[in-house]
C-alpha cells in the first residue's frame, strides 16, 4: 500500500490516482457497451483473480467463490448497456462482489464453509508446498496456522471482514473501501480498527 501522508494530501493523491486509473478500465467498459467483446475479455483477465480471491476469503469456499465471481462478471456484462463511467470501475466491481458475498453468507449458501475450514487440504497452494519437500511437521504447523487465520477472519462481522480483505489484499484506499461499502471514510477506519483489534486478540499467540 502506498504511503499515505496526512488527510488532505491523501485525498489529493486519491483524486490523482482515481483520474489516472479511472480511464483505462472505464474506457474498456465503454467499449464493451459499444459491443466490443474483446474489451470485456481484457477486463475479465485483469480483474478475475482479485475478485475470486476476495470472494474466496469472504466465503472461504473455492467453489462458491467461483460461482459468485461468475455472477459478478455476468452482472457486469448485463449492465453494459446502462454503464456510465461515474466512478472507478473497481469500486463498482467490488461493490457487486461484496453485495453477492454478503447475500451468500446471509443465505447460508456456503454451508460447506465450515467443512472447508476443517478440511481445506484439497484447496489452495498448500499442494505446492510438497514441491519444496518440507517435513510433515512443518506442513502440519503451517496448515494449523492457516486454519487459525481463516477462522479468525471468518469470525469477524461481515462488513469488518470485507473491509479488512479489501484493505489488506486489494490494497484499497479508505475512500474506495468507503465507496464499496457505501459508508463514510471514518466509518471504514473505525471498522478496520475494530477488525484489527479483534484479529490481534485472536492471533496474538502467533507472534
Amino acid at each position: 500500500m502506498p504511503a499515505q501522508p496526512d488527510g488532505a494530501e491523501r485525498v489529493e493523491s486519491n483524486m490523482g490516482s482515481l483520474a489516472a486509473t479511472l480511464d483505462y478500465d472505464a474506457e474498456l467498459m465503454v467499449r464493451v457497451k459499444e459491443g466490443d467483446g474483446a474489451s470485456f475479455d481484457v477486463l475479465l483477465e485483469k480483474h478475475r483473480s482479485p475478485v475470486i480471491h476476495f470472494l474466496y476469503r469472504m466465503v472461504q469456499n473455492r467453489a462458491v467463490a467461483e460461482e459468485l465471481a461468475q455472477e459478478v462478471f455476468l452482472r457486469v456484462y448485463r449492465a453494459r448497456s446502462t454503464y456510465e463511467p461515474t466512478a472507478k470501475f473497481t469500486t463498482w466491481l467490488f461493490r457487486i462482489a461484496t453485495h453477492l458475498a454478503l447475500n451468500s453468507l446471509r443465505d447460508g449458501k456456503n454451508d460447506r464453509r465450515q467443512e472447508s475450514l476443517d478440511d481445506d487440504s484439497s484447496e489452495g497452494p498448500a499442494r505446492q508446498v510438497f514441491d519444496m519437500r518440507p517435513s510433515v511437521e512443518a506442513v502440519m504447523v503451517k496448515e494449523t496456522r492457516l486454519q487459525e487465520v481463516r477462522r479468525a477472519v471468518a469470525g469477524l462481522p461481515e462488513k469488518q471482514r470485507a473491509a479488512v480483505l479489501m484493505h489488506k489484499y486489494q490494497e484499497m484506499e479508505y475512500a474506495q473501501i468507503a465507496n464499496v461499502l457505501n459508508c463514510s471514510e471514518s466509518a471504514v477506519k473505525s471498522l478496520l480498527f475494530r477488525a484489527y483489534e479483534t484479529l490481534r486478540a485472536r492471533l496474538a499467540h502467533m507472534a
Partner: protein, 161 residues
C-alpha cells in the same frame, strides 16, 4: 498528539504504522509511540496480524472459469445480437459514415426512380389481388402452352427430315 487508541483523530496513523507505512505525521506518531504502551501493543499486534494474513494465499482458479462464464453469457445473448454482432464494431466506430452512405444511396435511388419534372400519375396505389385458384390456373395454362410449344417443334423437325 492525542493517543489514537483513545481518539479517532489519528487512528489512520496507527493503522498505517502497523502496516509498515510511513507518511507525513509518522514522526509525531513515532514520538508518541515511544511513551505509549497501548499504541505499542496495537502496532506489534497489528504486525503479527499482517504477517499472519500474508501467509493466507488464495487457491488457484479453475482452468475453465472463463469458458463457463462465456457459456453463460452466450446463453443470454439474443438471436438479434448474434445477427448484428459482426457489424457492431463497424457501426460503433463508423456509424455516422455508414448511415450517411445509406441515406445517399436511398436518395439517389429515389431520384432515378422518379426523374425530376415528371409528376407522379396518381397519389393512390393500385393493388391487384389474385385468388389462389387464379394463380393455379395461370400456372396450368403456362405448362400447357409449354407442352404445346414442344410438340409443335418436334413436328417441325420431323417434317424437315
Amino acid at each position: 498528539m492525542k493517543c489514537p487508541m483513545e481518539s479517532e483523530e489519528n487512528r489512520d496513523l496507527l493503522l498505517e504504522y502497523g502496516s509498515g507505512e510511513r507518511g507525513a505525521g509518522s514522526a509525531a506518531f513515532e514520538r508518541h509511540l515511544e511513551d505509549c504502551s497501548a499504541c505499542q501493543g496495537f502496532v506489534a499486534g497489528r504486525r503479527t496480524v499482517w504477517a499472519a494474513l500474508d501467509e493466507w494465499e488464495a487457491p488457484a482458479i479453475s482452468t475453465d472459469f472463463n469458458r463457463q462464464l462465456h457459456q453463460r453469457i452466450e446463453q443470454e445473448v439474443t438471436w438479434w445480437d448474434r445477427l448484428f454482432r459482426p457489424l457492431r464494431p463497424m457501426l460503433a466506430w463508423h456509424g455516422l459514415p455508414v448511415a450517411a452512405a445509406a441515406g445517399l444511396v436511398f436518395t439517389v435511388g429515389v431520384m432515378f426512380e422518379r426523374p425530376a419534372g415528371v409528376a407522379p400519375q396518381s397519389n393512390t396505389m393500385r393493388v391487384e389481388v389474385f385468388e389462389p385458384e387464379q394463380v393455379v390456373n395461370a400456372i396450368e395454362d403456362l405448362e400447357m402452352l409449354d407442352k404445346f410449344d414442344r410438340a409443335v417443334r418436334a413436328d417441325a423437325a420431323k417434317s424437315k427430315l
